[in-house]
Symmetry: C2
Subunit: 380 residues, 2 copies
């Protein structure tokens, strides 16, 4: 096991009816801004629950943080927040809204162009922020990460600041989610786990077991949720799984990959494809390309997650990857670049960006532009 | 899944050579007290590492916090700490040292008799404290709990305050542990998990999988550790498992039992038996007594942890309990009251205490004094 430092101070407030707790969780003397996405929280009753709970708080509202939150939108919020001396932000919505909020919270404390913070990749300074999370997917509700996009330059990069002070997760808020968003959330959660798990073997028994536990649980709930989107227990499982997949709990002392995400961010920046679907497009191709390096762990994955016990090592790995791709397809998500009309031009562009930036991704720091090209060829 | 609130802000600093980090983790302007147990940290080099790291800090030392820390000892520390205006305590040692430190840290902020705090069961106020944890067992390094004893009244009760600010865990500090302490640590960790897991089924898929993951990992490492006490990877697994078993990570939104612990505390208070060995004495008897209530979960335990797939339900449960008892025996720990010369007098005393206090323990709040008597009869 590698040495590590772990700290996750976010207070998780989980369950039905818990949104009302924000009344007590946010000090009344704060200059409060609420941040929102496009308006679905007005339709599903979450907005009303929030403003009812905050009837004794003063707050302003900022609407319009889009999926793959854009720096231009966030800069507008920062300008308003600075004028109003905002020192607490509550994100009400999904992972993109909270990601954008993380950048706004840091931007308030920064005098320059907020895009600098994204290019730098982190900010140690930030006003307090928290979330009412309505979409199980990104794990943003209990981690330091965000992903911010620049529409002008077609760039998309991760950004790190602090964990939310608290996050309220009420599974009932997920009942109105469209099928596609649920599928994306399941796929996103799945690949968050495999990015931390499918690297080297024999690093930590418990991190392996916990990662496998999330994957197995996702495989169990995915087909059930299709016909039971308002099953409280199922949606509770889903919501907690999404949070646990990316809050550091399964990443202690183990190598991590994240190349699928990094390549996926470029695909989203170029084509506007939903984040999770870039993962289902790319992940099996990456695993196929890197299968020698990941061989022992892929065999463990085949055995423990997919119960594959017969065949040669190559056959077991091939079957595990086929089953993974079939699972993604069962969610109604694309698994081949052709389905999204992505061809050689994009492959060249993505590979060239990795080469130009000198990036060496993955747990082995060996996924260069040329390896990215092989990966994308394997995703055709 | 039940509604829940989870927050664990302890910074975990894990790995070889990490003790030196306390230099940066403890602010230099703090009035610092170091707390210790009996002196083993002077023999295994941990004391030297600590004082070297703190060469630019001022601190005082308090020695002699015993196993099952006693209120009289802790009161002495509180008196000294108050005189010296101590506002940060670093526990250097095992779970008992840290448990005692939690009470000292709270006692500094309390004007009355510190035993009041134990009888009350919690304190919201406390000075900052942290730990260098050298014994994987109690999980105290990443939770709010402690257990404090009163030698005069032969009482032992849990007490809750805050989580440590940080805990440093260097697996190399475990190399000098006696076999008995390692066995106790494994058993303690095992029962910490089953107290949270062996209750009702279908509450949370991921909490179940994570609990099972710890149990399976303990079964894997226990026989290996016997002959490899200085294997870094094994001891890393052990140390992280002990922490993860009782830091709230596997207890979110699920019912919990804890009756084995509560009965065990009385046995320790009466007979001075090591905490973990009270658990191995009592746990299988409790599970046997409560097997109807726990039936579905015991079947899941039999199947997933022990790979028992054939037989009637009763046979599967019986086999799982037999295997559990055999596992405890393999650690060299007692599993029957007779082995410790505990007879009917003690059974009467323990049952009578539960009855007199009107306690109703367990996840079903139905373990009264009379049920405690049945449990103890099943442990003969």
């Amino acid at each position: 096991m590698d040495n590590f430092t772990f700290c996750n101070p976010t207070k998780l407030v989980f369950g039905k009816g818990q949104i009302k707790e924000i009344e007590n969780l946010i000090p009344k003397n704060k200059n409060l801004m609420l941040t929102f996405g496009g308006g679905s929280v007005k339709e599903n009753g979450v907005y009303n629950q929030v403003v009812t709970a905050l009837k004794d708080h003063d707050f302003i509202e900022f609407w319009g943080i889009e999926p793959n939150p854009k720096i231009d939108t966030l800069k507008k919020a920062i300008t308003i927040a600075k004028k109003k001396d905002i020192n607490f932000i509550l994100s009400v919505g999904g992972g993109s809204c909270l990601d954008g909020t993380k950048l706004i919270a840091a931007g308030i404390k920064y005098d320059g162009d907020a895009w600098d913070l994204v290019l730098k990749g982190y900010s140690a300074d930030s006003v307090d922020f928290a979330s009412v999370m309505t979409l199980p997917a990104t794990g943003s509700e209990m981690n330091r990460g965000a992903v911010i996009s620049n529409a002008d330059t077609k760039e998309k990069y991760p950004f790190y600041s602090r964990c939310p002070v608290f996050s309220v997760l009420d599974p009932e808020t997920t009942y109105s989610l469209p099928d596609y968003q649920i599928s994306c959330g399941i796929a996103d959660t799945f690949v968050h786990v495999t990015e931390q798990y499918l690297t080297y073997p024999n690093q930590s028994r418990i991190m392996d077991r916990w990662a496998e536990g999330i994957l197995i649980s996702l495989l169990e709930i995915a087909p059930k949720i299709k016909n039971n989107k308002k099953d409280y227990d199922l949606m509770s499982d889903f919501m907690l799984l999404a949070t646990m997949a990316l809050n550091g709990f399964i990443g202690m002392g183990v190598a991590q990959d994240w190349a699928t995400h990094q390549i996926g961010h470029v695909i989203t920046a170029l084509h506007g494809i939903t984040h999770a679907e870039t993962l289902t497009l790319l992940h099996c191709g990456l695993l196929k390309t890197m299968k020698e390096q990941k061989k022992e762990k892929l065999l463990q994955y085949a055995e423990r997650v997919w119960n594959i016990s017969t065949g040669t090592d190559d056959e077991k790995i091939k079957e595990a990857l086929n089953k993974t791709e079939t699972f993604f397809k069962s969610l109604g998500l694309a698994t081949r670049l052709g389905e999204k009309n992505i061809g050689n031009d994009t492959i060249n562009e993505v590979a060239n960006r990795f080469t130009a930036q000198g990036r060496k991704a993955g747990e082995g720091h060996n996924i260069t532009g040329e390896v990215v090209r092989q990966i994308l060829e394997n995703c055709k």
